[in-house]
């Protein structure tokens, strides 16, 4: 399946190779019943290799998750088989219930009904810290 084969839907392009499955899980795409294609390690002119996700339905994506995991992705909105819109994402200032704090001394570790909130504290180095305990989000979440 290529872009042409989608009538109305979304193509997340230029995903850093290896991050496609992580995005698939975090965006909760498993819950959709429409056709979805994930391409892994595809050759890409400017990136060497890339991942790609094609969703054959007009859904609303959580761009905060995309921005946090892989801010260089391109989102193509497909309408009637044509690219109707190209969008880029940016680093979100705030992440709510996307990742969770790993600090066992954090209040979120014992009060699970609290929202897991992380804020961007250092844009240059893409550092996110827990709102409550200021613990840095771990690299494995990227």
């Amino acid at each position: 399946m290529n872009i042409d084969s989608i009538k109305n839907g979304i193509v997340i392009d230029h995903i850093t190779a290896g991050k496609g499955m992580e995005l698939y899980a975090l965006l909760n795409l498993d819950s959709l019943s429409c056709p979805i294609v994930i391409g892994k390690n595809l050759p890409s002119g400017k990136m060497g290799t890339k991942d790609i996700i094609k969703i054959d339905a007009d859904i609303s994506l959580n761009t905060d998750i995309l921005g946090y995991i892989d801010p260089d992705v391109t989102i193509n909105i497909i309408k009637n088989g044509q690219i109707a819109e190209k969008k880029t994402v940016s680093l979100p200032e705030r992440l709510v219930n996307v990742i969770s704090c790993k600090n066992p001394r954090c209040i979120t570790s014992c009060e699970q009904e609290l929202d897991q909130v992380f804020t961007l504290t250092d844009k240059e180095n893409r550092v996110y810290r827990c709102l409550y305990c200021e613990t840095k989000a771990k690299e494995e979440n990227h």
Binding site: R105, C106, I107, T108, E113, L114, C130, Y132, T135
Partner: protein, 304 residues
Amino acid sequence: MRSLIDIKELSLEELDSLIATALDIIDNPQKYSEKCKGKKLATLFFEPSTRTRLSFEAAMYELGGNVLGFSEASSSSAAKGESVSDTAKMISCYADIIAMRHPKEGAPLVAAMNATIPVVNAGDGGHNHPTQTLADLLTIKRKKGRFDNLTVGLCGDLKFGRTVHSLISALSRYAGIKFVLISPEELRIPSYVKTDVLDKNGIEYVETTDLTGAMPSLDILYMTRVQKERFFNEEDYLRLKDSYILNPQKLENAKSDLCIMHPLPRVNEISVAVDKDPRACYFEQALNGKYMRMALILMLLGIK
């Protein structure tokens, strides 16, 4: 409605104004003795800290207010499984301001997000303890008359010592501050404090393991406890512990107007013989904590 969870929330102007109020309280205690008449402070201590709780309570009583609360989690609603946010909402019905101590980091922030009255963080685990830093700052102001152009020695456990981290971030906002970071290798200042606070603010600092050698340059010496459980083995602890105990011999080459500070409680890191030295400021520092808590309560309640 305003709370104080982290010392960084206070602007330099607000800090100046708190210090000015505290100094005025010291000079004119009578003027303040009924300022909080009819107001109630709730001290919600989910873990015991007698020293901090008594300081908050004394502060409120000296302002003419009243105090209610609990001093450990087992006697509180938390023992029945009530959340911090529910406790904060409930206490907002009974009191005018909350001082909260909690073993979990971020709990006072959760309280502040849910309370309809101001919340003061009275210590959240190893995270923040802003009123300790306020006490430290008033002590420096009263002893030195300024916050700029000081060489500040921080000695002991610089890795886990939250009072040290928060004092560094408070003083890094002033010009001409130089830090001498004195600790065993195992307990050096974490690298994020260096990159995020010291380097970011262009603050000069040196790291050393030698307290005696650093002594002559210091205007302020802030001592903290080197705890046995921070070491991997007993041998290292025994080998190092005496190097970080302050005694009269180590003070021989110190400046005559050195200001010796300690957040208390002390165990043995400052020998009792130092207490008689006029440069010992740590008991006064505890008293200053009460004055700053009084100034803070007035500020948060909007009382002039």
